[in-house]
Symmetry: C2
Subunit: 145 residues, 2 copies
């Protein structure tokens, strides 16, 4: 009997917890991104390597000269860095302080980075590009024509 009551009690606490969590998420309006691939820099060459499960999404990209690469500044993905709202542009204290939304600083609340890149070659799930201002291993979120 006591075991049953404990179970029911625990279940109620758990359910309420889930509901509160869901409601909080709704208030905060969060969205989930998946890494679809990553930046690979090797021997002076730069590649976007797409996860094979997304390879069908590349059909026709070989006909274009450029692609917009959306990636994630994953090295800055900490609550502290994501709370920064003003910076000295280019990290230079002589530049007057400015809001991050008026800059390209890599510490926006959402760490979305956007680069327009020249396509050198598309082969299977790998796109060779001329260059990108991202670190080797940066998660890639999207490609757009």
């Amino acid at each position: 009997m006591i075991a049953k009551i404990s179970l029911i009690y625990l279940f109620i606490i758990f359910s309420v917890g889930v509901l509160v969590a869901q409601d909080q998420e709704k208030l905060d309006q969060t969205y989930t991104l998946y890494a679809i691939g990553k930046v690979v820099k090797n021997d002076g060459r730069t590649f976007i390597v797409i996860d094979e499960k997304y390879q069908d999404g590349l059909l026709g990209l070989e006909n274009y000269k450029e692609v917009t690469v959306v990636y994630w500044f994953d090295l800055n993905d900490t609550p502290e860095k994501r709370s920064i709202l003003q910076v000295h542009p280019r990290g230079n204290v002589e530049n007057p302080i400015r809001g991050v939304f008026a800059t390209h600083a890599p510490v926006h609340p959402n760490l979305i980075a956007i680069s327009r890149c020249v396509i050198i070659k598309v082969e299977k799930n790998i796109i060779e590009i001329d260059d990108i201002d991202a670190f080797d291993g940066s998660p890639v979120l999207d490609l757009k024509n």
Copy 2:
């Protein structure tokens, strides 16, 4: 005694569940986005209304003529739509099928939309822009100079 064992048993199941969930998340490499504001269309005018807690991030934006608005195609945020990898561009079946990464289709695995917009006025947490190809109420994720 039985109650205690039940509690311990439940706790172990719950802990294992949390660990499995964490590990899965690591494998899938997901990232969390916060809405920083929203698109408001009203009486032929278009505004980006930023949540007041992010208002400091707008400092200096009034000095620019244009802003890149990153928003979320929230109406397509379903597992089904996010799994679409090929489309007929512009929804026209006469256009040969193409990978979503070679298009601007609003059904990418990550529903990131990017528009370069002309700034009309910045006042407190509200930016009036000329126009944007987004629905009224679309969540805004980022602004870049």
